[in-house]
Amino acid sequence: MRVRTFKYFFKESFTSLIRNRWMSLASIGAVASALIVFGSFLLLSVNFDYILKDVESQVEITAYLEDSVEQESIAKLNRDIAAISEVKEIKFISKEEAIEEFKEQVGKELLEGIENPLPNSFRIKVNDPHEVAAVAEKIERFAGIEEVKYGKGIVEKLFNIIYWLRMIGLAIMIVFACVSIFIISNTIRLTVFARRREISIMKYIGATDWFVRWPFLIEGMILGLIGSLVAIGVLALAYKYLYITVKLNIPMISLLPIEGFYEYALGFLGIGMLIGAFGSSFSIKRFLNV
């Protein structure tokens, strides 16, 4: 494709963007709102993920041993559990260590004169928090294990929340994207209509379909691109504000730093342009069969 041809395409695109400026603005607004809604849900879920990673290190399995288990068997159990591929770390906590820890938490006085009621135990960390439940089940089956405990439910719930946040965000984005495609295709239809005479002349002269199509595709993509830039700007500002507010007021929650958001910006630009291209290709189709 010649440079001159591309110049021509861009000139045509910008001319009609300005000619239909109100429709252009509506299209940009539609794309921007679609992406802002999606982006909010995305950021929410990403932050849940981030917080979960933080919690993750605290998600560990405690396996309590029966009191009858001998020293030798403990060593064997230790080896066996460590051999489970998902297990990252295993630490033996003896009765004595457990009570010391407990005393520290509740105060020495309270436990004065009582025989140590705590069992020996293992503390186990796994590679992937998704696997906690499965690993816990495996450990439970070993002989000599009395009881296995882990943050049952909490992990699953968190994963569920993240999953649903993503799904809801995605669903809303799809609806908004359809609305954007519809609005953009209407905008482009105006342009196509304004230039229908030119298009038919072009076709008679021997223009290829793509030659006719490009200016409209570019127009749609520019609309999508500007829309996504607006969305990125709004989200970045809002997130920055949120991040600072949370940091100052609720210091125990640490949100994903703002830089993490920029990773998604490129994707947003892509989605915006795709929406624009889709919208415009719907409007041109009919006019090409001359």
Binding site: M1, R2, I201, K203, I205, G206, A207, N289
Partner: protein, 232 residues
Amino acid sequence: MLIEMYGVTKVYPGGQIALKDINLKICKGEFVFIVGPSGAGKSTLIKLIFREEVPTKGQIFFAGKNITRLRHREVPHLRRRIGIVFQDFRLLPEKTVYENVAFAMEVVEAHTREIRKRVPLVLERVGLLHKAKAKPSELSGGEQQRVALARALVNNPDILVADEPTGNLDPETAWDIMGLLDDINKRGTTIIVASHAKELVDSMKKRVIQLENGSLVRDEERGVYNCESKDF
């Protein structure tokens, strides 16, 4: 042989029969009129040549290639070999005369250098170089049709196809346009003109194909024309 039609029939979706079993051959370099009353099928015949319409039955060859089986994306390449002129000129009102003609070259992605060289040349040929900067609305009907002719010629087509090119013009201007077409023909471009201006056609002393109710009723050659000698 530039155009060959064999048993061409065209029935429109509504059931209206526009052309019935047309057989004809047009050589390179010929000047052919297609005449007949309104609705006889002149426009349909013209549209079949640049493939705005596809025949219901029969075959059409352009320069030896069967264009009835042309794929959609091959159509532009056929049209680049055909210059098309309409009764209503079909110029772009917001572009100047020069830009209207240059547009035809931009569309087929010609080099800028080529466009700058070729457009004034063609405008000169239709006698409108001095109005290059005018807008179509500032021109008379005859001048507008000359611009349309220049646009049709600028890409150096094998054939010029005109559907009622003088239909919107007064008789005197119509004569000018016909003279210009004759001139273009003498330089080697094949020309097909659909017209119902009987006097004008008769006085041109060219081959006349007459249509009536979609049938070819007369194909008359005035003057001797040897297809073989000009065919290569």
